[in-house]
Amino acid sequence: MSAPLLEVRELTVHRGRTPVLDIPSLRVGQGEVLALIGPNGAGKSTLLLTLAALLKPTAGTLMFHGEVLDSEAKRQAFRRRVTMVFQDPLLFDTTVRENIASGLRLHGVAAEERQQRVEATAAQFGIAGLLDRSARHLSGGEAQRTALARAFALRPELLLLDEPFSALDPPTRGGLLEDLGRILADTGTSALLATHDQAEASRLANRLAVMRGGRILQAGALQQVMNHPEDPFVAAFVGMETLLQCTVSAAVEGVLTLALAGHELIAVGEANVGDPILVGIRPEHVTLSLQTDKTSSARNQLPGTVTKVIPWGPFHRVELDCGFDLSTWVTPQSLAELALAPGRPVVAAFKATAVHVVRKGPQGG
C-alpha cells in the first residue's frame, strides 16, 4: 500500500503549558477533501497551521508521501508543495495579477510560464477581468477568489483552507463554494477545509472529522459521520437535532423496537433487549401530515402537537411535542397547507432507517 499524501502521528501542541491539540493519528489521501468541523476554539486552525508546517508541534511527526519532515530544509521544501489559504485574504498591496503571480515568483517560475498560469488560474476563478485592478479595491468575494487563485496557481498537492468563506455573505459564499468544488474536482487537488458550518463541509468534502477541545471526536466518510455520529456532541454538530434516550424492548432480525415515554419507535440495528440506547433523528428525515397514513413506508408515525414555528431562511423549523421533543423542517407551502401553528395536532412520520443509533449504553459523558 502506498503512503498517504499527508499523515500525522502522536501530534501534540501546547500553548505554554496548556495542551491545545492532541491528535494520535490523521491521514489525508490523494484526491481527498477532508472537512474539519467544530466550534470556535476546537483547534481547527492550530491543526491546519501545524499541517502546513507553519507551527512547530510540541511533539509528533508529520509525514508527506511517507517521508518524515524532520528538518527545516524539508519543511521549507514541503511548503512549496502545500499551500494554506486563510480566512482573511491577506493580499499584497499591488494588482490582482501581481498577487496571483507572487507565489510563482517566490518559486522562481519563469516569466512566460508565470504569466500563462496567472491568466489560466484567474479565468478558473472568474477574475480574469480584474487582473489589473488594485487588490485594495476588491469586494470580499473577489479578494478571497484572488487569494485562492494565488494558492492554486502554485498547483499545490494539498490545499489547506482555514474558514475561507466565513467572512462572505451567503450568495457570494454559495458561488465561490460551487466554483471551488468544481476546481478541486477538475484538478484532483487534495484539500483540508476547516469550517464550523456543516453545510459548507458537506458541499466540498468527501470525508469529515469533528473536532472539540483539540481532539478529533470522530472521523470518517461524510455520510457515515453525518448519519452515524458516535457521540451526542458530534450528533448535535452534524445537525442531528433530536437525540432520544430509549430502552430496547424487542430486537428481531435487525429491527429494534424502542420504548420511550410510553411510545414505541422502530429502528434498524443490533442491540440486546433491555439495554439503554441513545438514538438520533435528523430533522430533514421527519415529515408531517394531518393523519396516520397506513400505506406509507414510514414505520414510525407518531401523533403530536406543534409547539413552535420558527422562520429559518427558506424553510420553517417546526418543533413538536410527541411525548418527547422532535423537530423538523417544512416549506412555506406545507406550512400553509397543513395550517401549522402552535397547538395544531399533527402526525410526525419517519422511516425506521432514519432512527440512527448514536450510542448503546446509559446516558452520560
Binding site: L54, F86, H107, S134, L154, L160
Partner: protein, 232 residues
C-alpha cells in the same frame, strides 16, 4: 521682515553665484547626513526586522529601549561620542574626532533608533498572519523579509524620512564631535549657529533657507519613491 527678505536675497545670491564655501558646506551636510541615514537604514531596519520576526525573553524591554532611543538628545550623543573618540578614549586610536567621520558616527547613533523604532512599528502593524501566508506560499526566510519590507514600504520610507530629518537638522552633536572647522567639518546647522552668534543674520537666514530647500528636496525624492508604483 526686512531681515527675512534680505536673507532670501542673500541665499539666492550665494546659491546662484555658486559661492564655493556655501556650496562646500551644503554638499558636506548632504554627504554626512545622507551617509549617516544610509548606515542607520541598514542597522535600524536590520534591528527592526530581527525584533519583529523573533520571540525572545525581554522583547518588550528591547522595544521600550528602541522607542526611548528615538528621543536621544543630540548633545548627549555628542558628549558620548566625543568621550569615545577622545585621544585616550576607547576608540581614540581611530583619530577621527573633529573629522566628518565623527559627525557621521554621531548622526548614525541618533538616526538608528529612530528608523529602528518607526520601522518596527511599521512591521508590527502588518497583519500577524501575513508572515504565515508568505511562508505558506513557499518563501525562504530572505524572501519573507523582503516581502514584509515591501508590504510596509510606506511607513518604512516615512521612518527613513524621519531619520534623515532628525540628523540633517541637529546641531549639538555635529558641533561637539566635528568642531565646526572651516572647510572640514562645517555643516549648514553649525554654520548657521556661528553666523547668527556673530550677528550675520542675513547669512544665517540664507544658510537656514538652503537647509530647508535641501530637506525638502530629499524628502520630495523619498516621497516620490514612496507613492510611485502603487496601483490605483
Amino acid at each position: 521682515m526686512d531681515l527675512i527678505w534680505e536673507g532670501l536675497r542673500k541665499a539666492l545670491e550665494l546659491l546662484v553665484g555658486l559661492d564655493p564655501e556655501v556650496l562646500g558646506i551644503t554638499l558636506l551636510s548632504l554627504k554626512v547626513s545622507g551617509l549617516a541615514t544610509l548606515i542607520s537604514v541598514v542597522l535600524g531596519l536590520g534591528l527592526a526586522v530581527a525584533v519583529a520576526l523573533n520571540e525572545f525573553p525581554g522583547k518588550r524591554l528591547v522595544i521600550a529601549l528602541m522607542n526611548t532611543g528615538m528621543g536621544l538628545p543630540p548633545v548627549v550623543v555628542g558628549l558620548f561620542v566625543t568621550i569615545l573618540l577622545w585621544r585616550n578614549g576607547p576608540l581614540g586610536f581611530l583619530g577621527i574626532l573633529y573629522t566628518p567621520a565623527a559627525i557621521i558616527l554621531a548622526q548614525a547613533v541618533i538616526a538608528t533608533p529612530i528608523i529602528a523604532g518607526l520601522g518596527l512599528a511599521a512591521l508590527q502593524h502588518l497583519p500577524p498572519e501575513l508572515r504565515l501566508q508568505i511562508l505558506s506560499l513557499g518563501a525562504t526566510r530572505r524572501q519573507l523579509v523582503w516581502l514584509l519590507l515591501r508590504e510596509a514600504r510606506l511607513p518604512l520610507l516615512a521612518a527613513v524620512m524621519a531619520g534623515f530629518g532628525g540628523v540633517i537638522s541637529e546641531v549639538g552633536a555635529s558641533i561637539m564631535v566635528g568642531g565646526n572647522l572651516k572647510g572640514s567639518t562645517r555643516v549648514l546647522t553649525t554654520a548657521t549657529v556661528m553666523e547668527s552668534s556673530r550677528g550675520n543674520f542675513e547669512v544665517a537666514f540664507a544658510l537656514s533657507f538652503i537647509l530647508l530647500v535641501l530637506a525638502f528636496s530629499v524628502n520630495a525624492l523619498l516621497t516620490h519613491l514612496q507613492q510611485s508604483r502603487r496601483p490605483r
